[in-house]
């Protein structure tokens, strides 16, 4: 890849492009921070304790915590003891959402977290490694009068991870254990208005089911869903970004095909980066409003995974193509050492995701973390992916280091070179340094905003305005990587300066402008005829070194 736009562009134009991109970047942050609400909402539910009086039920009966046809409720379990109601007759009912509200497809997903309030009793403590078995069913309906339709029914096991922080004495009886949050349910689309959860904790002494789990006082649920407003802003952003990236991509590829030589590897990789960005941008989520596509969440994960691995591959190949060590590269196979960890790592994460979110397509209550084997498997996948990531970054750092070493080596020999070769090297160095700088800035911004959004309480009060930091993080970072890909495709597209457009002032080309154009033409034409610059410079470079 020689004679990219970025080298031949005047400083003034480059500044204009930079400022425009920065403006868009600021706009992306503002859209999230000022227009969008916070990305997700957590709603709290306390399960209502219903009494199931019928001994042997023929068909599933649904227990409503409130509203029409509400169940026989008890407030506390002391009441149940007095009325001689047994544990197996208790049904915990939760209606999502709370009264006078309804769910909407704009919420995109819903995940529910379960928490037990378990009171400490000297004589009824939680056993070591106690498992709780939950008989849970989920139903939906779309108006408040029709029958409930069952969506899922499952027996789930969850490990109770509880500890009692105060002294285990009689005086402290009745205080609650501190228990870990239990992942409970995850649905990838919220297509219905009302959901109903009926939870039972059946006891079977012989099979040791739900024995030794302490004295449960309450079941609390927290449901998390994306906010409708955020979804709308997000969709709008995607809808706007898709054509922008698509157009620049087509423009970029047309420029490459206009050249007489076939495209080099780096150019292909940039195109692939553009394609994966477009893939992530295409707002297929619009369909989730009309259709009940539960796999959208998984699909989103896959799309993100593809983009990340493409971005990582791009960095490696970009570094490799700017190594300037006179080795023939230009083939993907040369980079197998670096690409394999990326592919393998993403594959591991993909398998993990399929195990969790894939299975959740059929059973929303499934969690890979619930079972011992599952946890180990999940950890194994994540650790392998982590090792791959470490390996990758080692390779990348080493490569960047090599490039810088070669740059400083070239710097000393630059004045002695012929003009054509000097310009070529200067071009390479400038291109590399520019991308390096931009990438580092983007990565740093991502990390900084990530930290801010994690540390912060979610929003800043700014006089009258509330700035939603989390939303700003999402839209800002998403916009930033889009702009990054946009800028790469624009600035690293082949320049057409050789067709007589002679106004190169050359911020990196220090030679005099008049003589420059002749040599430039010569340089680029040689390159276009041979497959890439490397072969010639392999020879010439070696001569120079000798």
């Amino acid at each position: 890849m020689a004679g990219a736009i970025i080298e031949n562009m005047s400083t003034k134009k480059l500044v204009i492009v930079g400022v425009t991109l920065l403006l868009f970047q600021a706009f992306a942050f503002m859209v999230g921070g000022l227009i969008a609400p916070r990305p997700t909402t957590a709603a709290h539910y306390l399960a209502t304790k219903c009494v199931d009086t019928v001994k042997h039920r023929q068909e599933t009966k649904w227990f409503m915590p409130w509203g029409h046809n509400q169940c026989d409720k008890i407030r506390t379990f002391d009441e149940a003891t007095a009325k001689k109601i047994e544990a197996n007759n208790i049904v915990f009912a939760v209606h999502i959402p709370l009264p006078n509200k309804e769910m909407s497809p704009w919420f995109q997903f819903m995940l529910v977290i379960l928490q037990f309030d378990i009171a400490f009793k000297m004589l009824n403590q939680i056993d070591e490694g106690a498992m709780v078995t939950i008989d849970v069913s989920l139903a939906y309906r779309d108006d408040s009068f029709s029958e409930w339709t069952e969506m899922a029914h499952s027996f789930e096991q969850r490990k109770l991870n509880c500890n009692f922080t105060t002294a285990k004495t009689f005086e402290n009886e009745g205080r609650y254990y501190e228990c870990d949050l239990l992942p409970f349910m995850e649905v990838g689309s919220v297509a219905h208005k009302y959901y109903l959860l009926n939870i039972r904790l059946p006891i079977n002494e012989r099979k040791k089911v739900n024995v030794g789990i302490g004295e449960i006082k309450d079941i609390r649920l927290v449901s998390i869903h994306q906010n409708g407003g955020f979804t709308k802003v997000w969709f709008a952003m995607k809808t706007f970004l898709t054509p922008s990236i698509l157009i620049i991509m087509i423009w970029y590829w047309r420029r490459i095909t206009l050249m007489t030589r076939p495209p080099v590897l780096l150019e292909k990789v940039i195109l692939a980066l553009g394609i994966s960005m477009t893939f992530i941008n295409i707002p297929v989520e619009w369909f989730s409003i009309g259709f009940n596509w539960t796999w959208m969440l998984l699909f989103g994960d896959i799309r993100q995974g593809i983009f990340y691995s493409m971005l990582l591959s791009f960095w490696i190949i970009f570094c490799g193509e700017h190594l300037m060590d006179q080795t023939e590269r230009n083939r993907l196979s040369v980079y197998w050492k670096q690409v394999v960890p990326i592919v393998f790592g993403s594959f591991c994460l993909f398998i993990f995701d399929m195990c969790e979110r894939g299975v959740q397509l059929t059973n929303p209550f499934y969690s890979i973390w619930a079972s011992e084997v599952g946890t180990e498997l999940a950890m194994a996948f994540i650790i392998v992916a982590g090792i791959c990531a470490c390996l990758y970054f080692l390779f990348l750092c080493f490569m960047v280091f090599q490039v810088f070493r070669n740059i400083s080596g070239k710097r000393t020999s630059l004045p002695a070179m012929s003009k054509a070769r000097r310009l070529h090297y200067e071009g390479l160095i400038f291109r590399f340094k520019f991308l390096m700088l931009v990438t580092l800035a983007c990565a740093a911004m991502t990390v900084i905003f990530f930290i801010i959004s994690q540390v912060n309480e979610g929003h800043w009060q700014w006089g009258e305005h509330t700035v939603q930091v989390n939303s700003a993080f999402f839209t800002g970072v998403y916009g930033m990587w889009n702009l990054y890909v946009f800028a790469i495709m624009f600035l690293y597209a082949p320049s057409h300066k050789r067709y007589g457009d002679d106004q190169s002032s050359g911020q990196c080309i220090t030679g005099d402008a008049g003589a420059n154009s002749g040599e430039d033409t010569q340089l680029t034409t040689t390159i276009t005829h041979v497959d890439g610059p490397t072969k010639i410079y392999k020879m010439t470079g070696k001569e120079a070194q000798e």
């Binding site: 709290h44 002294a167 998390i224 906010n227 407003g229 993100q304 999402f474």
Partner: protein
Amino acid sequence: MLAYLIYSSSVAAGAQSGIEECKYQFAWDRWNCPERALQLSTHSSLRSANRETAFVHAISSAGVMYTLTRNCSLGDFDNCGCDDSRNGQRGGHGWLWGGCSDNVGFGEAISKQFVDALETGQDARAAMNLHNNEAGRKAVKGTMQRTCKCHGVSGSCTTQTCWLQLPEFREVGNYLKEKYHRALKVDLLRGAGNSAASRGAIAETFSSISRKELVHLEDSPDYCLENRTLGLPGTEGRECLKKGKNLSKWEKRSCKRLCGECGLAVEERKAEMVSSCNCKFHWCCAVKCEQCRKTVTKYFCVKKGIQRGRNESAGSRRKSLRLKKKH
């Protein structure tokens, strides 16, 4: 009026849970939160304004707020959680656009509406009560725990949602007990008329104090002695704790505090207790137990010189005491 009917049972239950917590917190103090303390009304002409009053006000309003928040999560109220004035402004459709505010915000608002309404006066006492009500509500907010859940790509932490969750009410009680010990005394009673100037002074004084702190105007009376005019029972006959393995410092000193320092003697009474043991528990309701007997030693404050055993009955759930005379 309709709103009053919807919330009143929750408010009453909340105030009751506040008083129960008060009884627990002050079980080993000279003042042990007698029922009489529940009277928060303004009618009583003998309204005290001491440290204990401050605590009662705080814990009651905290209890009301706590219970309302809990019942809101149960789905008891139609309009809870979605305070449209806050989220409805932008986007205009509240719940769908940006979700609702926490249920605790609702509990706070209703608690404020109900508990503070009892305070009709504009004098220093009223200001003190309002301040302590607010401190109680702040205590609920202050003890809430922030919990987060990660749910990004493949469950990573790129996206996480955090929320505040209600602690056990005991935590709120412990927190307020700390505040009780560090309550601030404000000297406003002397020469307090009901003039506009003094009202301004009162408002100014209270606004300068952190809303998390408890405030009182008077010193506490001597709780050792029985005082019929103030309705104080005194500490005679109270049980105290001694020699326990897991007792806190405060509990260990309770006999000295309740009896010794009040000029009373400690009497040791041995009691045989029948309690349940070897129980088979389920997570709820059914309990199958055997009955066991064991001897427990209890300590009581008695007048000096009449240290004899007396029959006394104490009972709690599944416990009955049979007393044995001390030799």
